[in-house]
Point group: C2
């Protein structure tokens, strides 16, 4: 690697390495637990749930597809496929605006809201049991500071992710 | 909701709600940044990268498909599609064992290792710039404790995720 014009990478030290792995694994594990609960309680996937939460919290309970995609950090094509499947199941509805180049609106249906209401109690219980019940006050504050530091300087998307109180 | 036989859900309080959203957004944002870097530096997707890292760290640089899938918390079918695509690009190779019911082995190829080496410096730089450079020593320790608390009591998968030092 020597002799390159680029400087030697600043490799992580052992502790940083360990924390990084824990960060990734903790997130992955939580997602797996949440996915299982959403599927069991309401037949929803995690992406289904994320879309429904974003829509349920939006003004007039609908969002432009572009705004929704950006808020999820998803490619437009991924959102399009996702919405198509959810539309077929009656969870969301799409309103195309031919005269509006900014694209279609996606809205949550009554059925979508019912699905969300059904999984919400189990969802918050999962998040509590595997995260917040395990953190004392100081750890909660520290986690808040650390995650906030990551987000610092980033333009927040218009859509923020999951409110665990869905009512 | 009253009148149900189930107790009222323990909704998150405002601070927990905020930390939870930050946790999710920080992870999503980091993943988006990492994805962009991997794509730009080596034409790899984040799943490509995760598979390559897991294989590169495994004994003999190969893993059973089942073990790899479990380590990623992926469905077997997802891994199968992913591996098929990576095999077509020469990044991994698959060795089927007909007499062994525990399934095929997946190994990293020299080309796969080269792709990993190529993206590694930019990867660690991205992780540093957006996470570790933003945390002081106390926040690092706190993040370590918080993520460790989430993982506590969980059977670790045989495959742990990304070493950011890939050499």
């Amino acid at each position: 690697m020597s002799g390159n014009e680029t400087p030697e990478p600043r490799w992580l030290d052992d502790r940083q390495q360990q924390v990084w792995r824990q960060w990734l694994l903790a997130h992955r594990e939580l997602n797996a637990l949440i996915s299982r609960q959403l599927q069991a309680d309401g037949g929803l996937s995690l992406p289904d749930f994320e879309v429904l939460v974003a829509l349920s919290e939006a003004p007039d309970r609908r969002l432009r597809a572009t705004v929704l995609a950006d808020g999820m950090f998803w490619e437009r094509s991924r959102l399009s496929h996702q919405v198509k499947r959810m539309e077929a199941r009656g969870l969301v509805s799409r309103i195309d605006c031919e005269q509006d180049r900014r694209g279609a609106w996606i809205g949550i249906t009554a059925e979508g809201q019912a699905a969300l209401d059904k999984v919400a109690p189990g969802h918050v219980e999962t998040v509590r049991r595997h995260l917040f019940d395990r953190l004392d006050e100081a750890s909660l504050e520290a986690l808040g500071r650390a995650t906030s530091a990551v987000l610092d300087g980033i333009d927040g998307p218009e859509v923020t992710y999951p409110n665990t109180k869905v009512s």
